[in-house]
Amino acid sequence: MSETSGDQRRAEVVIVGAGPSGAVVAKKLVESGVDVLCLEQGDWPDYTTSRAADERLELAAGKHWSWLPNVRAGVGDYPLDESESDVSALMWNGVGGSSVLYAAHWMRNLPSDFRVRSVDGVGDDWPLTYDDLVPYYEQVERDFGVSGLPGDPAYPRWDSFPMESTPIGAAGHRVAKAHNELGWHWWPSANAIATRRYGRLNPCVQRAACMWSCVDGAKASVDITHWPDILAAGGRLVPRATVSRVETDARGRASGVVYFDAEGVERRVEADVVVLAANGIGTPRILLASATEEMPDGLANSSGLVGRRLMMHPFGAVVGVFDEDIGSFQGVWGQLIYSLQFYETDESRGFVRGAKWNLMPTGGPLATTRSFPWGYDTIWGDGFHEEVAKRVGHSAVWGIIAEDLPEEHNRVILDPVLTDAYGNAAPRLVYKASENTEKLLAFHLERARESMEAAGAKETIVAPQIRETGWHLLGTAKMGEDPASSVVDAEGRSHDVPNLFIADGSIWPTSSGTNPTATIAAMALRCAEGIVRSRNLMEVA
């Protein structure tokens, strides 16, 4: 796919970031006749370099297709200072964004996720409800291509899926039956993975390699599901365009953005509307870097909350090792089944909120030698081969996504020293998991161990806590009704700058305990609708 050519100095709407939220916004706007230009700091993914289908898969994940930008250090990656963070941020910078490497777990938030303050007395309520978002969920599920089984009693109004559910595999069957006996919730997983030919998607061939890119075109990443149609409809996309700041006019309206192109030349795009879709780290970084004499704390930051309340979903895992061959290096990865048994608050547990569990495969022989999720007791030496044989094909892992509560001291700031290749200040993360999160994880790890034992696991292993779990980057430009305590309104519009919108996970008031792409996409669609609706009334520069 080639870069967009022609004049890139002016657009009705400029979008920063070509990941899921940017793509959803661009699609809706282009369909509505809006002139759209998207600037993406990375490039198109080059699937010819992926190792997902060959014997080097588990090696390649270590560098070129790493989830860590500091390890990958590829085109479009900015350095991250994580010396003050318990968790490392994971992301893919390029067309498709992190949908290129996500596991495609497609979870809606639950109704209580929108009412955390009302239900549990902590965090904040969202300025909208689950019911408000249902029509948007339904649309983005059709646009991405989601497979699943309707009828999960944990979700009201999730009545249909575009495709039938992915298979749950031998491991899923085993654990599902155990949960039935325990009286615990589980459900066949919803995945943004095709189970038949669907739009541009091919049916999945179960390589269990989603998180190292899908070379089979079966996973709904927006470089496949959205961008070709957006470009065909006249939308414009400039890859390798690193935005350094949003510019404003004398009245404080956004007037455009400044970026560095692939040759390192500084350029400027004028726009009536600016949409930031650069993830929970990239978006506050740009806002903070857009400070002026009139706005010394950054753009859209009269509340002082830009960059604050960073949430990254601390992650736990429990492995079950079984006598039987449960085929655990092929299948959907993706998730096989999920459980919401302990999702809601039970005050007797000593913490608030909960977590979603996802059952997943464990990988091939090389993966069995690593400390995550297998623990720090090394496998080396006598008994090595027996241990590998015991693990390969015989194990499955519950991944536990813990809701973490918004805390203002967890934040993204601009590093005073570290910069990207163009001299833009790099983000520094300041993040520490709370006591509530630690208690929550401890409880869930024990319950997950019980689940595996009930399923017949002859051995269970609680994975060590590792840094490299920050898949979900949320909360750093909070949405709310009050400009004094939030950055944007319920449609992502800045309280301070009326023609500036934020469409990514930055705007979440609380983190939920689910994988966020479904809700990010639904919220982005809602944001785009708001832009279209107010298009002729917009106060522009």
């Binding site: 390649a60 270590g62 009302s118 689950y130 009693p153 009201p156 589980w186 049916p203 061939v205 090595f384």
Partner: protein, 136 residues
Amino acid sequence: METLSAATREALIDLADRMIPAEGEMPAAGSVIAGADLGPVVEELPDLVPAVEKALASVAEVPERERFKALAENDADGLAAVGELVAAAYFLDPEISRLVGYRRREAVPIAVDPDLVELTRPVVALGFSSPVPGTG
């Protein structure tokens, strides 16, 4: 591209034998590494080379047979780097792949489970409810 020096490869062989010893029909890793093309491993994991060199340098003065123990006791990161390289080279070897029964993730056509409605009946019967009034 980073490469392993001949001296590093030589030093790895004894260590590899102790980390992945021979057992049954499985050969020890040292013999596999001695004849292996480590290029693919180094190509995919270039950052491993300096980490392995550093780990081996840290035990250079330790008698060869004691190096694994020294790394295990004193340098967990170094041992992990050496282990990653040794295991990657070992499991990439076609003969080892055959013996282990894993070479790559094959394309397996997807088929829908026919039993999910029946299997989920007990979950539906749980009748999960939401703490939010009016939902669930």
